[in-house]
Amino acid sequence: MKVNVKINRGSLILILVIILCLEIIFLLINPPASHYIGELVNGSGTILINAPCGTIVRAYIELTNYGTTPAKIYLPNNTVVILGPGQSAQTSLLIMPKAYVLCSSAFSGSIVEIIEGNTTPPIMAINTATIRIVGDVFTYVNYWVIRL
């Protein structure tokens, strides 16, 4: 059975204008630009990458050992990277909110936080990736956020 769907020009213009408005809103909320944060962690520290409800976060993390002793990096997938003095490592993480969690609480913290010291603050976001650092490591995080 063949179905012919005809859209008149007025409706087509209206549909295109609606799509255009949605695209403009999306680009205003999500300008195609990245954010970055760089910090030197002395001794120990934690990188928290939060993906609040309704967001997708891509983080590119570059770690360089500035100390004289080897540094240990504990990645979210339970692997441990050991960096010798002067060595560097990169990793890229995609953090998506869990689909079964309702957007019940507003997230007021920052997407990426680098915290020095052993104390880890309580996790605020719906989904958070944690990277623990032991050693003198310069941490550079470049991240993109898409708010849906």
């Binding site: 255009l20 680009l27 997708i56 891509r58």
Partner: protein, 233 residues
């Protein structure tokens, strides 16, 4: 007023009608032009969105470079297709068949007074007034669209010529600020100046036609008055 004078005014009136019909044909083509332009803008804005979403979810610089180049080439090709093949052709073709509608007037004018009366009686003056108002809109939009499109084409051509061919030959390396911040405004300004220089006669002719369309209402009243005088109404 002699019959010859009336014939001359009717020929003049026919030229007015041809212009009005052309302007109406352009007004008829406006929704299609709007659809083409809107489709292009929608696709143009979709490119950074698609790129951003793929970049965030997939994150591979090599693949992203290929996707970026492919999307840029496709949007540029579609831009050229929309502008040249669709919009400019639509404006140029609008009202090409108009002259044929009044071809029989020559024969009627040769018949003398009965032919002149037949011509004047065949005109629907109410419809003509509506056509005049619609035609004015068509003409204004067509002139603006023509200037914008010509400026864009000339601007892009000048951008390629100045910033990708001439400047790299004489100035190397080109200052980044000049290339990133000022290249497009400079190219578009030069493109606009070039468009106005090359198409000034055509644009001024269009503006003159617009004034003629404005004055046609008075012409119509004058012809009606003469018609009544001829009939001794």
């Amino acid at each position: 007023m002699s019959i010859e004078d009336v014939k001359a005014r009717i020929i003049e009136f026919r030229d007015f009608l041809i212009n009005i019909d052309r302007a109406n044909a352009i007004a008829d083509a406006l929704p299609d032009i709007a659809i083409n332009l809107l489709t292009y803008i929608v696709l143009l804005l979709a490119v950074p969105i698609i790129y951003e979403v793929i970049f965030v979810t997939y994150y591979d610089t090599f693949t992203m470079t290929i996707i970026g180049v492919a999307l840029s080439v496709l949007t540029t090709a579609y831009f050229i297709y929309v502008i040249v093949a669709k919009i400019l052709r639509k404006i140029q073709r609008a009202g090409q068949d108009v002259t044929g509608r009044y071809a029989h007037w020559d024969r009627l004018l040769n018949e003398g007074l009965p032919g002149i009366i037949a011509i004047l009686e065949s005109i629907n003056y109410d419809e003509l007034i509506i056509k005049i108002h619609r035609g004015k809109l068509g003409y204004v939009v067509a002139v603006i669209v023509y200037i914008i499109i010509s400026t864009l084409i000339a601007g892009f051509a000048l951008f390629g010529l100045i910033f990708l061919v001439i400047l790299p030959i004489f100035v190397f390396p080109i200052p980044t600020q000049l290339l990133t911040q000022y290249s497009i405004p400079i190219s578009l300004t030069l493109g606009f100046a070039l468009t106005m220089k090359l198409a000034w006669n055509r644009i001024s002719e269009s503006i003159r036609t617009l004034w003629m369309i404005d004055s046609i209402t008075w012409e119509l009243r004058w012809i009606e008055h003469d018609l009544k005088r001829l009939y001794r109404i």
